[in-house]
């Protein structure tokens, strides 16, 4: 018997955005939300001004900045959806590939492969550490295993110095990528789970302009340009993401079908 009062499983995207002295993440998250709603046709929940990670600083990123990235482990508890796509605000959703993962996910999946226009290589978290995973895009259902993952990420964050030494990270600051990699490894009996079976594209250099041309994305950097198929892009250049040019780019995307 089917109970018509039982609602269908809810789906949506979640973004954490906490402004820093140099980066207006709220502004960036607003544009990211527009892209998600347009491309994935999903509701978006943005969490602002939640708790902070103490004394976290990132060098060589957005001119070197304080970094409030300590809430991600709360995504399981805070997400209003049964099935959630947890995204960084700097991940530009330009295709619907993640919906395939949402259709097939058991507990959780995350990005395990990354490339830049200059390099196809994925790196590790340190010379003798785990392979890099990317918390930029994590898809999860509200299951016991997913809850264990996020609880463990919280524990790793609270005891980060211990885990940093145990896993031989090269970086000293707290990174969600690392916490997710460790938690995933432990949860799966000290081996990594299968991640999203394709490669994320990261634009790691300063961007002069992004534009859509013949359904391709033209990425213009200082000294070169790339013709990319229309796909989601992880953008490291926060100056560009705060610019009016970026808003115009999102406008141009949202005006298309």
């Amino acid at each position: 018997m089917k109970n018509s009062n039982v609602p269908a499983k809810s789906r949506g995207a979640v973004i954490f955005a906490h402004n820093t002295p140099t980066v207006d993440y709220k502004r960036i998250a607003e544009q990211a939300s527009r892209l998600i709603q347009h491309t994935l046709k999903l509701p978006v929940t943005v969490f602002l001004e939640t708790s902070q990670t103490q004394d976290n600083f990132r060098i060589g990123y957005a001119h070197g900045t304080e970094w409030y990235n300590g809430d991600r482990y709360r995504a399981y508890e805070l997400s209003p959806y049964d099935e959630t796509i947890l995204l960084d605000s700097d991940y530009l959703i330009l295709d619907d590939a993640l919906l395939k993962i949402l259709d097939t996910v058991d507990d959780y999946r995350m990005m395990t492969n990354n490339q830049t226009p200059a390099s196809a290589a994925n790196n590790s978290m340190g010379a003798t550490s785990l392979s890099h995973v990317w918390a930029t895009a994590v898809i999860f259902k509200k299951t016991n295993k997913a809850k264990q993952l996020f609880d463990l990420i919280g524990r790793i964050q609270r005891n980060y110095d211990y885990y940093r030494r145990l896993y031989n990270f090269s970086a000293r600051n707290f990174r969600n990528d690392y916490a997710f990699a460790i938690a995933d490894n432990i949860i799966n009996g000290y081996q990594p789970s299968q991640g999203i079976p394709w490669t994320m594209l990261t634009a790691d250099k300063p961007i002069k302009k992004l534009e859509i041309k013949n359904n391709n994305v033209i990425l213009r950097e200082e000294n070169s340009a790339h013709v990319l198929p229309r796909q989601s892009i992880h953008v490291m250049d926060k100056d560009y993401l705060q610019s009016d040019e970026y808003v115009e780019f999102v406008d141009s995307i949202c005006q298309t079908n």
Binding site: K100, D103, Q194, R220, A225
Partner: protein, 104 residues
Amino acid sequence: MTDINQLVEQIKQSTDYQTNKRILREKITTDLHFAYNGGLFKATPELFSFVVCWNFEELFLEDTYQNPIKVNRKEFIDVCGQHYQMVMNRWHIEYEELKRARKV
């Protein structure tokens, strides 16, 4: 603008064919994946040929995440074949465009 400045500007607009080709191939790999009956499959000639050759109308296939997924043979052939055809066609079209793009 001097000749040298013009030359520099032109170089900055140039695009690397090998990089674009690699990124396009990765995107096609992404797009070849499709969801079927709760499983995730990559449409490949091997998978398609195997299912076409199978003698029974129902079978179980291992998906990308190593789960056995119940498959209706005829339905799967339709879904997988159409998906493969659509993505490979797009790859060909976009690849031909890329070959022409040297400056953007």
